[in-house]
Amino acid sequence: MLRIASYEAADCGDPGSFLRHGGALMSGYFAFLLRRLGQFGLVLFIGINVAYVITHASPIDPVEQSISAVTSFGNTAPDAVEQMRSALRELYGLGATPLDQYRLFWSRILRADFGPSLSAFPTPVSTLIGRALPWTAGLLAVSTIIAWGLGNLLGGLAGYYQKSRTLRLMGVVAIGLHPIPYYILALLLLIVFGYLWPVLPIAGGSAMNLPQSLTMEFVASVLQHAILPALSLILIGVGSWFIGMRSLVSNIVTEDYVVYAELAGVRPWRILSSYVMRNAMAPQLTGLAMSLGGIFNGAVITEKVFGYPGLGSLLVDAVYAGDYGLVLGVTTISIVAVSAGVLAIDLLYPLLDPRVKVN
């Protein structure tokens, strides 16, 4: 501990210390990186094991269950049923010893091979997921960045200017919207903009009649279709960042160094941006990494409500169609994608908080 403290003191002292302690800085950053990668691995390991336990603890024969779900929609040729049965038995690894089943499960996941989809036979599950993933990733990334940025900015202002009526009103709205479940808010938006005042498209990812290529028309259509789903995610997301940032900032403004900066005549905007908000950003970034799983849950529902062609719609439709491989595939890919997102955010952390480089 003493050694670290002396590094920190040296860092504050003179700029040359950065070079002298460069080795220690690198190893500090390296240790941070290793820890984050270890956490990433642990999330994947536990998440996928939970998926394994869930699928194998079922008291029902999963193969017959899936086949009856698929064939209940109409006549299926006996050959096709037999083909499905053998494909499914192989997929579940039935008949093998538990250890072999477990090994097979992991090898499928590591190769991202979930067999053919039953509801879109014989398209491989991985193709369907590959098609849906960019929609979800795009919607999620854009709406999360907007919600996080907007919530932090407004929350920071509300914490700093605590007497402003406009900002207080915003606080009430943000806090009121925050606890409402995604489904309810999405449904309300759908009713308002779909039935009462129909101005925005309420389903799909782009206009049906446009080819999916990089033309202005297609991009505009994608953006227009994304407004409602993104709006529902942003309206709910903004609240928690607003509340978090406001309470962080209202604690920081009472610190001595802020009072000192005010007395020294530093401009308010500069105090807010580089003295107050900069310090509050680090915990908010950690918060973003931690809530990514929950944000993903919300996106799944929003997609279903607005018929957005992403992972969420794929997952829900796969359950309705009894498509085991697809459900399992989407679940595992969700776990991988979310933990990769968390890792990416974690790696940004040293940019905001230089202390992790030495600790």
Binding site: G38, Q39, L42, V43, I46, G47, V50, A51, I54, T55, A57, S58, P59, I60, P62, Q65, I175, G176, H178, P179, I180, P181, Y182, Y183, I184, L187, L188, I191, Y195, I243, S247, S250, N251, T254, A289, M290, L292, G293, G294, F296, N297, V300, I301, K304, L315, V316, V319, Y324, V327, L328, V330, T331, S334, I335, V338, S339, V342
Partner: protein, 287 residues
């Protein structure tokens, strides 16, 4: 406890609003025991009657009285949230107190697992669970699984309180007087973290009920048991919005939104009350 509630009532408008909303919802759910109709039966009253004096909230296309159906649904939904909150509080307390008190490698190992449970996206796993269980899915099984995932964030909060308690003198005194780890945690530390447990319990209920509503609306729970999500599910199945039976969907949504905002406001003000700095600010002090 009574004094704390009185203070909260006096100083926080948010607490007053939250308390009124939650009290209203609790009252409505308590009426469920007086329901004149068996809650799971259908076609017991004329279908599609708009709100009137005979049927306050109207009737559904399945011939149920919306008022009584809503009352039973609220009771079941609240019960679900309370069960999840209770089980997950126990896990959060054990992990949080142990991790904060022990420190060292125990702390590091527990917090790694803890962070894992925070980020795993739960909804796809719950959907997978429904997929393999289908009709055997019971609300208790669902509550158990959600509780197994709903403790992690709050365990971190409890750990941070436990870490500061560890540094206090009374912990040293207890240790030197020969108390075991279990005794210190249960007798000395537990009472100090109870306020955190209560405020996180309300947030946890908001979370678990939100997920349950979502799953039920998609039809991924036992939809024959009346819950808020189940009511919306059946209203959607009968295209209530298109058919103009708006009261079937509007009243459950209004009730559940009131419940969410109420519970959330109570949790927020309880949090502000626990935090001495913001408590000082509310009563008009200055640093």
């Amino acid at each position: 406890m009574a004094g704390a509630i009185r203070d909260l009532f006096r100083d926080h408008a948010e607490f007053r609003i939250g308390a009124v909303l939650v009290a209203f919802v609790l009252l409505l759910s308590a009426l469920a025991s007086f329901s004149p109709y068996p809650p799971e039966s259908v076609y017991v009253v004329p279908p599609d009657v708009p709100p009137s004096l005979a049927y306050w909230f109207g009737t559904t296309s399945r011939g149920q009285d919306v008022f009584w159906e809503l009352s039973v649904a609220l009771r079941n939904t609240l019960l679900f949230g309370a069960v999840v909150a209770m089980i997950s509080r126990v896990i959060a307390l054990v992990i949080g107190l142990l991790s904060g008190y022990k420190g060292g490698w125990v702390d590091r190992a527990l917090m790694s697992v803890n962070d894992t449970f925070i980020v795993i996206p739960l909804l796809p796993l719950l959907v997978l669970f429904y997929f393999v269980m289908r009709d055997r899915m019971s609300w208790l099984a669902l509550a158990l699984i959600m509780a197994c995932f709903g403790w992690a964030y709050d365990a971190r909060l409890i750990r941070s309180v436990a870490m500061s308690l560890k540094a206090r003198e009374f912990t040293q005194t207890s240790l030197f007087s020969g108390m075991s780890t279990r005794e210190i945690l249960v007798q000395e530390h537990l009472p100090h973290v109870m306020p955190v447990v209560f405020s996180t319990a309300m947030n946890n209920m908001v979370w678990s009920i939100g997920l349950e509503v979502t799953l039920a609306v998609l039809g991924f729970t036992d939809v024959n048991r009346p819950t808020i999500g189940g009511m919306i599910y059946w209203a959607n199945q009968h295209a209530a919005m298109v058919a103009g039976v708006w009261w079937w969907i509007a009243f459950p949504i209004a009730a559940v939104t009131m419940m969410f905002i109420g519970l959330f406001l109570l949790a927020v003000t309880a949090n502000a009350y626990i935090d001495p700095r913001s408590r000082f600010r509310t009563i008009g002090g200055a640093f």
